[in-house]
């Protein structure tokens, strides 16, 4: 049976470390598929203006297209070119919740993320997405330093 590993990336250099590690794991496992996921941070409880609401659907489509084009597609292509089975996923939502939800839906076995690129006060108050994922995930999580 194919082992599925969700690799969460954030478009930064730290994310590519997670992909490198995922690639190595896939090589070791053999029959393995990497699900490269990029989450666009979004909350249904944020406040928006009338105009933002009216244009929201359009913006959402644009955000997904941009994320695919700039982040996900190049990453997936590089993996496929290297002989690794890989698929890209773009979602909106809370990073930790969405990565876990993808893993549950796709019946993933593990999640790989890099150490948080977020710092400062926000991290202290809300905790990083990585820390939140580690605390709430349904499957084992590997955090790449």
């Amino acid at each position: 049976m194919t082992v599925k590993i969700v690799v969460g990336i954030d478009g930064h250099e730290t994310g590519s470390r997670a992909i490198d590690y995922g690639k190595r794991m896939a090589g070791l496992i053999g029959d393995c598929e990497l699900l490269v996921a990029y989450i666009i941070e979004w909350s249904p409880y944020s406040f928006q203006t009338q105009e933002e609401n009216a244009e929201r659907h359009k913006r959402r489509e644009e955000e997904i297209a941009t994320a695919k084009e700039r982040i996900i597609d190049p990453a997936v292509k590089a993996l496929v070119d290297a002989g690794v089975k890989a698929r890209g996923i773009v979602r909106h939502g809370n990073v930790a919740d969405a990565l876990d939800a993808i893993c549950v839906e796709e019946k993933g076995d593990q999640i790989i993320v890099s150490r948080s690129s977020q710092g400062g006060i926000a991290k202290r108050i809300f905790g990083s997405s990585t820390a939140n994922l580690v605390m709430g995930a349904s499957v084992p999580v590997t955090v790449v330093g």
């Binding site: 666009i40 979004w42 249904p44 409880y45 944020s46 406040f47 928006q48 203006t49 009338q50 105009e51 933002e52 609401n53 009216a54 244009e55 929201r56 659907h57 359009k58 959402r60 489509e61 955000e63 997904i64 979602r91 909106h92 939502g93 969405a98 939800a101």
Partner: protein, 514 residues
């Protein structure tokens, strides 16, 4: 840029001081011209119902409509209140729609357009003329208005326009034209045009001039008297920067600060009520007593009723049609769900926030009572005499200030922000109506935006009386075509309602969240 603006403002302020007399006469001129132009329209809108004691027909129109929708939908506002909260929480939202406009966002955006000066100044006007009894009728109107909001917002989503580029436009102009056509009824287009004209006037009146006027009154209350056109000009420049210059960051900051201000306002009211808990029973006694006897106010209990109904409608805009524009951007496969969510709007706006304001004013003792008769003392203008002769937002400010001395400063900031966010919201409603009439396009949009900014200056310069009359009249006028349309289209809502409820009961519609 900042320095230039600062220098300009300081220079403007100095030159204003040196020409105060001229400026004040300018204010007076603006006021006189404005009052003479608008009075025929105002007189028509508030003409009394025949054989009644000065009961404006338009208020009766809205109350009857709200009552009809309440009965027609079998008290939907009470039966589906819990379901509405569940929808706002996102229990029924499809996770695959993440990133789209949620029910919460549609409600919050609509609320930022309605919660504002109507809750602070409008309530003070109602209580100042109609006495605490007006509060009772305000709550009644708020509760019934929930059904009207439910009807119009369902239609707003059902008949919205979804364009190829992914943007959406909705509102009464669309459901009137498309809905009537679908049912094979004539006159939909005419009603849509009529609505759009009144919506533009409403945007310039209640959504603009009233806001500018009361924001100026509040600033004057804190920093001392100065001509209104200065406040108007500053406001107009900022609004211009946002709606014409496209500086969305200002609007975005306001959208985030306004809910915080709203929570703080309710929090302060609750603290005042908690400190004076022993007077709450007395205050409710005044509210119920005044509702049916008037307790000496001009016009007796009918006076209280008219004021309560008028200010509730002005505040929560149920039946007016504006909310249908605001709610139409939500992502849902079931238009009726946004109807359920929207019924929370009059509840939060009127039943909760307006009642808080009314209770604080009543408890504060700002309204003068004749110690011998126990009735309210009425001045020569027909209003209840207040300590310091305050009215409108200054009455609310004095009431809060009597309990928390520094609160008027916070209130001044809140009022300015509320006024600003309401203006931004209404500039959008007005623009939608404008583009419906004159077509989309940068140039036509710019014309409306320029007119909108100009009216801010007029609103801040004119005195409260003519501004409030025109604002009320313009806003209520929107209800004429809208409510006619709702009567014809309510069977469409009923069909949606029955279908949804049966699927909800059968378990076909399930919660996504446990």
């Amino acid at each position: 840029m900042k320095n230039i603006l600062k220098t300009g403002l300081i220079a403007g302020a100095f030159s204003a001081v040196s020409t105060t007399a001229l400026a004040e006469s300018l204010d007076a001129q603006v006021n006189a011209i404005f009052a003479s132009i608008t009075s025929p329209f105002v007189n028509f809108m508030f003409a009394p119902v025949p054989f009644t004691d000065n009961f404006p027909w338009i208020v009766m129109w809205l109350v009857v409509a709200a009552a009809v929708f309440t009965l027609y939908f079998g008290f939907v506002q009470f039966r589906f209140f819990k379901h509405a909260i569940s929808l706002v929480k996102g229990d029924y939202s499809d996770p695959n729609d993440a990133g789209e406009v949620s029910h919460f966002q549609a409600l919050a955006t609509a609320l930022s357009g309605t919660v504002g000066l109507g809750n602070i100044a409008g309530v003070a006007v109602a209580v100042g003329i109609g006495g605490p009894g007006a509060t009772f009728w305000m709550i009644m109107a708020g509760l019934m208005g929930m059904a009207a909001k439910f009807t119009e917002c369902t239609l707003g989503v059902k008949y919205r326009n979804e364009y190829d580029d992914g943007t959406v436009s909705g509102g009464p102009m669309y459901y009137l034209s498309k809905g009537f056509k679908e049912l094979g009824l004539p006159g939909g287009k005419f009603l849509a045009i009529l609505f759009s004209i009144f919506c533009i006037l409403g945007a310039l009146g209640g959504g603009n001039m009233f806001q500018a006027n009361q924001a100026h009154a509040q600033i004057v209350g804190v920093v001392g008297d100065f001509p209104g056109w200065i406040t108007g000009l500053v406001f107009a420049i900022i609004v211009f920067i946002v709606i014409v210059g496209g500086v969305k960051s200002i609007a975005r900051v306001t959208e985030k600060v306004v809910p915080f201000m709203g929570v703080m306002y309710v929090g302060a009211a609750l603290i005042i009520l908690a400190v004076n808990y022993d007077q709450i029973t007395w205050a409710f006694g005044q509210i119920f007593g005044g509702a049916f006897t008037g307790l000496g106010v001009a016009g007796g209990f009918v006076g209280a009723l008219i004021q309560g109904f008028k200010r509730a409608a002005f505040s929560n805009e149920a039946g007016i049609g504006s909310a249908a524009i605001a709610h139409s951007a939500v992502k849902t496969k079931e238009p009726i769900t946004e109807g359920f969510v929207s019924l929370l709007e009059p509840f939060i706006d009127t039943v909760v926030i307006c009642t808080m304001t009314a209770l604080v004013i009543t408890i504060s003792g700002q309204l003068m009572v004749d110690p011998e008769t126990g009735l309210y003392m009425v001045n020569e203008a027909g209003k209840i005499a207040t300590i310091g002769n305050t009215s409108g937002v200054s009455l609310t400010s004095a009431a809060f200030g009597s309990a928390i001395s520094w609160f008027p400063f916070i209130l001044a900031i809140a009022v300015v922000l509320f006024a600003f966010s309401t203006m931004i919201s209404w500039s959008y409603y007005g623009l939608k109506a404008w583009t419906y009439l004159f077509g989309e396009g940068k140039r036509t949009e710019l014309v409306f935006k320029a007119i909108f900014c100009l009216f801010i200056i007029v609103g801040a310069s004119a005195s409260l009386g003519p501004v409030i009359d025109f604002s009320d009249a313009a806003l209520f006028a929107m209800a004429i075509p809208n409510v006619i349309g709702l009567y014809f289209l309510m069977k469409v809502v009923k069909a949606e309602f029955n279908s949804y409820v049966s699927r909800l009961e059968s378990g076909e519609i399930k919660k996504f969240k446990a």
